[in-house]
């Protein structure tokens, strides 16, 4: 619904708007001066507005100046963004209890206060919409954000002033407010031109019994915002920017900006659209009562890209800055179909060393820079398994019971779990579950076998959480959330030859695929299984694999990196099992899982053998903390590994696969 024609609210009647909002059962949140800055806080009356204040911002600098007069909205963008209210810094996620082996984990039901946001600027209106798209993009969407977002009423104010850090004009988000708001105000010296954009807004305005705005008043309002557009100009060449940035991933400027960047995360925390979070675990002294909490995090903190075993995908500040900038201005388009930046300039003003994102963009992706070649497809869909493999939505926290355990290797254990949750029982090969023991971190674990009445998880004890899981006694319960992600596209290989390459623990996620292929064996041509492991002692499912090797309709060969004299099998790297193979690569659909570097070597060898990238499927490991694409940790270029993967086709990943620091 677009805006209606304006009415006029005399300045001294602004109080009435507040009263009307409160009468509507809402707490009013708006701008007010605290500690030398304008912040958004709860207001009881217009008297608390920053009347007579204006603000000046420059890179790394914000100053509030008393200029007098009665205008309340002549300050520019404050440090606070509305995400503090739609996506709070700290949100309780789950409560859990683990007593005598019994486990209960439940989500904390979000409580959404009925708020009215007063003073929302055009760029912030855009930011609210962008964040809403992001928080609903996952298979689940974010319940907490949705509740808060829906409970809020937006009263926008069109900017009458701008500052040196503004660039909404370039990002196409302002300064005019055109839609997506309930009410919009244009402040004039003697009052406000009031327009409404939704039925709810219209009702409220009607209740104020205002006269229509005079043509002169409307004209002044229009001229005012036009002047702001004029003043800001067009500082960023946004047209074609996503492509130019994608093409500039190796620009030397990344290293130069990293020398100034403090990686302090301020830019991401003040950004109105940045949504990344981390999960914190708490418990009582006995580990009986536990809880998880979601807190704002940032791609600038080291832990953000860390995965099991302390490996880290973005160790250098250069990688972290590149991740942030390319996400905001480029891969955001791939993920959510819009820019991630609204041009509010907060990241410029609140950077402690005044790094100006506009300057960096001009240096890294100038308007005249070449766009191509595009290193990955524009749409993540191309990287996903076919739609036929729709993800089953993880319903709730299901309870599973340990029925049996098998020690596979010194540090790896297979748990057979009984579980009656229909969603989990419907899991596809290659999907994973989030495994929660109250008081412990919540790791993503691939399903290593589907059973009629449950599933198996094969877990390597690399940290306290996985150690606790692999040490569970028989009969103990754990909580599962899932199944998550997109699994192996089995149907892709109907009528074709199948090559499966597994490295180390990578065999676990492939096991359900093997099971499925065997149950549908006639649908496939030749099926070849190549297994690699570090040493003979590190091989998984040894008896099972030997049994498979005995089958006539399956070829199983294995090899280990190193071995003692007692080992009479093959020694070498897994690719040596097939690099001189004579089978016809064009007929092959390949499924690969193992350490990323091993998969790179395998993909290269398969390519040489004529296996098409679109028929080569890999499963990636990243820091998957939420499992549904809302925490941001597992991003790889345009992809959320947890949501768009973990299974990808080589063609779909394109240049994003194996690129350092991405």
């Amino acid at each position: 619904m677009t805006l209606d024609t304006g009415r006029f609210l005399p300045r001294d009647e602004l109080e009435h708007l507040f009263t009307a909002l409160q009468a509507d059962g809402r707490r009013v949140v708006g701008p007010t001066v605290v500690d030398g800055a304008v912040v958004y806080d709860e207001l009881t009356s217009p008297a608390q507005l920053p009347v007579g204040w204006e603000s000046d911002t420059a890179p790394g600098k914000y100053r509030l100046r008393e200029r007098g007069g009665e205008r309340a909205f002549d300050y520019t963008i404050p440090v606070t963004s509305w995400k503090r209210f739609t996506h709070p810094a700290i949100v309780p996620l789950t409560r859990g209890r683990r007593d005598e082996g019994q486990v209960l984990v439940e989500s904390v039901v979000p409580e959404a206060p009925r708020l009215a946001f007063v003073g929302v600027r055009a760029c912030e209106v855009a930011a609210l919409a962008i964040q809403t798209r992001a928080m609903r993009a996952g298979p689940l969407g974010d319940a907490d954000h949705a509740a808060r977002d829906e409970a809020a009423l937006v009263v926008a104010v069109e900017c009458a002033t701008s500052t040196s850090t503004c660039f909404c004009t370039s990002m196409g988000t302002g300064p005019e407010v055109r839609e997506g708001v309930d009410i919009v105000l244009s402040e004039l010296d003697d009052g406000y031109v009031v327009r409404s954009g939704t039925p709810a807004g219209a009702r409220l305005v009607q209740g104020l019994g205002l006269r229509p705005a005079a043509a002169a008043e409307t004209a002044r309002a229009t001229a005012q915002v036009a002047a702001v557009r004029q003043a800001i100009g067009d500082p960023v060449a946004a047209e074609g920017l996503p492509g130019r940035l994608r093409a500039a991933l190796d620009h030397p400027r990344w290293d130069q900006v990293a020398e100034r960047c403090l990686a302090c995360a301020n830019c991401t925390l003040v950004c109105p659209t940045c949504f990344c979070t981390s999960v914190a675990v708490a418990s009582d002294l006995d580990g009986v009562d536990g809880s998880t909490t979601r807190t704002w995090d940032s791609c600038f903190s080291l832990g953000f890209g860390r995965v099991a075993g302390e490996a880290n995908f973005r160790p250098r500040v250069r990688d972290r800055y590149r991740q942030w900038l390319t996400h905001k201005f480029s891969t955001w388009w791939d993920q959510f179909g819009s820019t991630g930046c609204v041009g509010c300039g907060r990241c410029i003003a609140w950077c402690p060393v005044g790094i100006d994102v506009r300057e960096e963009l001009r240096a890294i992706a100038p308007a005249d820079a070449p766009v191509g070649p595009i290193p990955w497809p524009r749409s993540p869909a191309a990287g996903r398994a076919p739609a036929s493999l729709a993800t089953v939505l993880p319903a709730t926290h299901a309870v599973a019971t340990v029925r049996a355990l098998a020690a596979e290797t010194a540090d790896t254990t297979t748990l057979r779990l009984a579980c009656s949750d229909p969603a989990i029982l419907a899991a596809q090969p290659g999907q994973f579950v989030m495994v929660e023991l109250p008081a412990f971190a919540v790791p993503p674990i691939s399903i290593s076998r589907m059973l009629p009445d449950g599933l198996e998880l094969t877990v390597r004890a690399v940290g306290p959480a996985t150690s606790a899981i692999t040490s569970l006694p028989l009969g103990a319960e754990i909580s599962l959330r899932g199944p998550m992600g997109r699994g192996w596209p089995v149907a892709e290989a109907y009528g074709r030859d199948v090559v499966i390459v597994a490295g180390g623990i990578g065999l676990a996620p492939l096991r359900p695929l093997i099971d499925r292929i065997l149950t549908e064996r006639p649908r496939f041509g030749a099926v070849r299984l190549y297994l690699g492991a570090r040493t003979p002692q590190d091989r998984l499912f040894v008896h099972e694999m030997h049994a498979l090797a005995g089958r006539a309709d399956l070829q199983v060969t294995e090899i280990v990196d190193r071995a003692g004299p007692e080992w009479t099998g093959r020694v070498g790297v897994v690719t040596q099992l097939f690099d001189q193979a004579t089978w016809n690569g064009a007929r092959v659909t390949a499924y690969v899982c193992g350490p990323e570097r091993m998969m790179q070597a395998t993909a290269a060898t398969l390519g040489r053998l004529g296996v098409r990238p679109a028929a080569t499927w890999l499963t990636l490991e990243r820091n998957m903390a939420c499992g549904v694409g809302t925490c941001g940790h597992c991003q790889l270029g345009p992809f959320f590994v947890c949501r768009d993967g973990p299974v990808f086709s080589l063609a779909g990943l394109g240049d994003a696969f194996g690129r350092e620091g991405l």
Binding site: P444, L457, T466, G504, I505, G564, V571, P595
Partner: protein
Amino acid sequence: MSSSTRALLSKTRFAAGMSPDVCKRLAALAEVADVPAGSQVIREGEPIAALGVVVSGRIALRLNVPGVGPQTILTVDDGDVFGWSAVMPGSRSTSTGTALVPTQALMFERERLLAAMAEDCELASAVYQRMLKVVARRLAATRVQLLDLYRVGHAS
């Protein structure tokens, strides 16, 4: 025995793509060796007597690690080569080759092979091409093994 060595050689991967003529001339240099499991075909640090091509079976190439004992770093199977340094002037074996199972191999006595290749450029280039492939493949594999990929990461 030349005819049988020729038959054996021609069906190995080693001879793949080799012109029948060259294959014939090379086979003439070969002697069939039947290696019982456990016996050694080359010894680390010792001069190499012959170049070997595995017809069937498996040979483990091992390095002795003080305090740990012999460690297998690579196995060679049907069609693979061992003792490749035989074609390098005056070089010694870089590892010890032990048959893991009863293995049949074609052995090319070093002096005869080098002499023949000195005479016969076509033969020499066929052999050297294949040697280069073998060495390149092993180098690539060694690089990946060095990374010890399976050691860290991956909870599942």
